[in-house]
Amino acid sequence: MVFSSTVFLLLFLPLTAIFYYLCPRRGRNAVLLIASLLFYGWGEPKYILIMLFSTVFDYCNGLGIARARSRGREGAARAVLTLSILGNLAILCFFKYTDFAIANVNSLLKLGLPALGLALPIGISFYTFQTMSYTIDVYRGQVAPQRNILDFAAYVTLFPQLIAGPIVQYKTVEKSLHTRQESWLEASRGMQRFVVGLGKKVLLANQVGALWETVSAMAHPSALTAWLGALAFTFQIYFDFSGYSDMAIGLGHLFGFTFLENFRYPYESRSVTEFWRRWHISLGTWFREYVYIPLGGNRRGPGRQILNLAVVWFLTGLWHGASWNFVLWGLYYAALLILEKTVLLRWLEKLPSFVGHVYTCFCFVMGWVLFAITDFSQLGRYVAAMFTAPAADGAFWYLLHSNAELMLLAAVGCTMLPAKAWQHLESKLSDTAAVAVRTVGVTLILLLSIAFLVGDSYNPFLYFRF
């Protein structure tokens, strides 16, 4: 199930919230668990089994590590951790990368091995990373193992962040699993955040997404059309992804959880390094904590650091989908980050800030083109069109005229301007007036989102590869 659907908004969410708040405190994790399993099994019921296996597997591994440790058997603890990591990676690789590997082996060795044709279990990349973070942190002694399997299962399956992140590390919600204090204040703020996220997804991402779809289907776009399309996808992925994160964080608040922020206006960055500190923060953090630093980070000399960056970004790319263009996209960022670390950042500091903005914009827009087009020959044609096609044709002016307002709204919407303007306005208003404006605002966004959900059939789910 996805958040941006009438089934979720009109049935699942109201019922879950009602049952949740009617239930006494100690039963609430169970309510969440049941709701989450329904949410997850909605599209592919059989994949609930994988999720349950993953849950029980790492629940046992967590306890196993702790038990070994308490008996002073460090080797055994390490063995259990290794088992946990291999098990999670095996599940992830089997479902996500087997067909990719088969296709590559086939084309390399000219074989005709049949593909498995498995449907990728939705959100598998997110929850395998979450459970791995749990066992690793137990091993590192950063968290105590969870003894209550119900609470642990509630964490793994927690539906707000299940299918599109953020990747919530166990240690950040450990306390909330036992002793969270829901409040109307938090629920209200959470639902407002949810509505804003819904608006970002339905009113902005889906609309600019339709423009990207039109442009990417063109055989011979003009250069400006191709750039317009690339910008449209740039906006689409931001509003889609950060909208999902807003919805997840908001729903977390509704049920008394606080998840860490996942996006902090990344398109305002002045360098690629900064961009990646502000984009999909939970993924960056995960790779830093569990891959980059264990590999030695920057502590083993510049040569090793460059290698480490390359490894991390190769994996980051591959994590986004089983296709070579994602690897290319990851290595593209590895190259940029290494370049920045060695020379570019020092230059950028000396230059006026708009140079950094323009440079970073160019980098991430080109990055999204690599990301968006999985087929290499099509990718080549598209990039060629951006730089060598005739500048503009009738279609460009049509598309610009038809989407100018939308693109402008999107451009403003991905900066801090709206938030700042709102803060400014709120500080001028009386409390009553501020709450009135706020209420009218969320009401409008919600009503508009419902209208577009019902009225506009274009509502893609971008994370089916994740």
């Binding site: 908004l9 109201p14 909605w42 409040s183 209208a451 009225g455 506009d456």
Partner: protein, 375 residues
């Protein structure tokens, strides 16, 4: 707790719960006139259907199709897109003067299927050199009303396709482009030509086949300004224009057999009360329609067609009341999407003397049933 934080939460809860309860309580609709399609009904809950994912698919459609105020939401979404200058909603261009156009871009146009279909028709015609075979591909509205398209809106180029048509089928082509470009001959909210358009095409066909032209009198079928067609159903913009349907009032018809249902009229007037008023003509699309006229001239026509032929065919039956004879004593219309029987057998049985292939061009290019022509 600060009380002032509550109103937004209350507003959100009222909207979601209110809409949820209203959707549950209000009776389900089975058909949407506005969208011209059947709506999803309450899905059956069985273990099989849950495991196959069918239940959840249908439940999602059901919840969306049966949501309270559905027509209002759809109209609101379209209106906002219109207001922000969006000129392409649901694959339909919002053109000038209230004209709507189905979007068929160069990339959408299936060139391979088009060429294949042309060759199929050529083979069929070549196999029947004893018959008078003609092909009439009606231009898409966007071809003759190009000025009404939003400026620069991407659309397939019809000119090279007509050139190919002539190259493959030569003098068997009835080209109606020139004649049609002089009149506003398409509905603004429907993808068909109007009856005026069909009449102009009919006279072009008369000239091509050496017949005498005749201009039938047309009658307005429905109350004025009362028809919104298939393109409207995709856009659902409340401010859309209204169209009018005209028809030949006294065609020379004895009987019409639509897949076994026999009537004595070419028109199903009950469709005037429904949304899809174009179905007035022959009551919609059938696999096989056999029309017997008052003419007795030994000519029997086979029409291989899409729905553009439905308002064209009445002109072939003549108007005895104005002493205009029909062109054929029997007309057999086949819609290859639905027709599955042996064609040669049918032609022999019916004693076919003339053949007309009549499609709208982009429809013809998208049709993958033409192979049925050559068994």
């Amino acid at each position: 707790m600060k009380k002032r934080e509550l109103p937004p939460l209350i507003a959100i809860a009222v909207i979601l719960l209110g809409l949820s309860i209203a959707s549950l309580v209000l009776p389900d609709r089975s058909f949407s006139d506005n969208e011209n399609r059947y709506l999803q009904q309450s899905p059956r809950l069985t273990v099989d259907r849950v495991l196959s994912g069918r239940f959840s698919d249908e439940a999602e459609k059901y919840e969306s199709d049966q949501v309270a105020l559905r027509d209002f939401w759809m109209g609101a979404a379209s209106t906002i897109q219109w207001l922000t200058n969006k000129r392409d909603i649901g694959g339909v261009y919002l053109g000038k003067d209230g004209y709507l156009f189905a979007r068929v871009t160069e990339e959408d146009f299936d060139q391979r299927q088009y060429e294949k279909n042309l060759r199929t028709v050529a083979d069929f015609f070549d196999a029947h050199t004893d018959l008078d075979c003609r092909i009439l591909l009606a231009p898409s509205p966007s071809t003759v009303l190009a000025d009404q398209l939003p400026d620069g809106a991407p659309m397939y180029d019809a000119a090279p396709r007509y050139q190919q048509l002539t190259e493959v089928l030569g003098d068997r082509v009835v080209d109606v482009r020139q004649a049609l470009s002089e009149f506003p001959t398409y509905y603004r909210t429907d993808h068909h030509w109007t009856t005026w358009g069909a009449q102009i095409a009919y006279n072009a066909w008369c000239r091509a086949t050496g017949r005498q032209e005749h201009w039938a009198e047309l009658t307005l079928a429905t109350e004025r300004n009362s028809f919104r067609g298939t393109l409207y159903s995709k856009v659902l913009l409340p401010g859309c224009a209204w169209d009018e349907i005209y028809f030949v009032p006294h065609p020379g018809v004895v009987s019409m057999d639509c897949d076994g249902t026999v009537t004595d009229s070419l028109y199903d007037f009950s469709k005037r009360e429904e949304k899809d008023k174009y179905a007035l003509f022959q009551g919609g699309n059938w696999a096989k329609v056999t029309i017997d006229t008052r003419a007795e001239n030994g000519r029997r026509l086979l029409v291989v067609k899409d729905s553009f032929a439905n308002c064209f065919v009445p002109f072939l039956t003549g108007e005895p009341y104005r002493e205009v004879p029909g062109d054929f004593e029997r007309i057999v219309m086949l819609d290859l999407r639905f027709y599955g029987d042996d064609l040669e057998e049918l032609m022999a049985e019916e004693g076919i003397t003339d053949v007309l292939v009549l499609y709208e061009l982009s429809n013809f290019a998208a049709d993958n049933n033409l192979f049925k022509l050559n068994g």
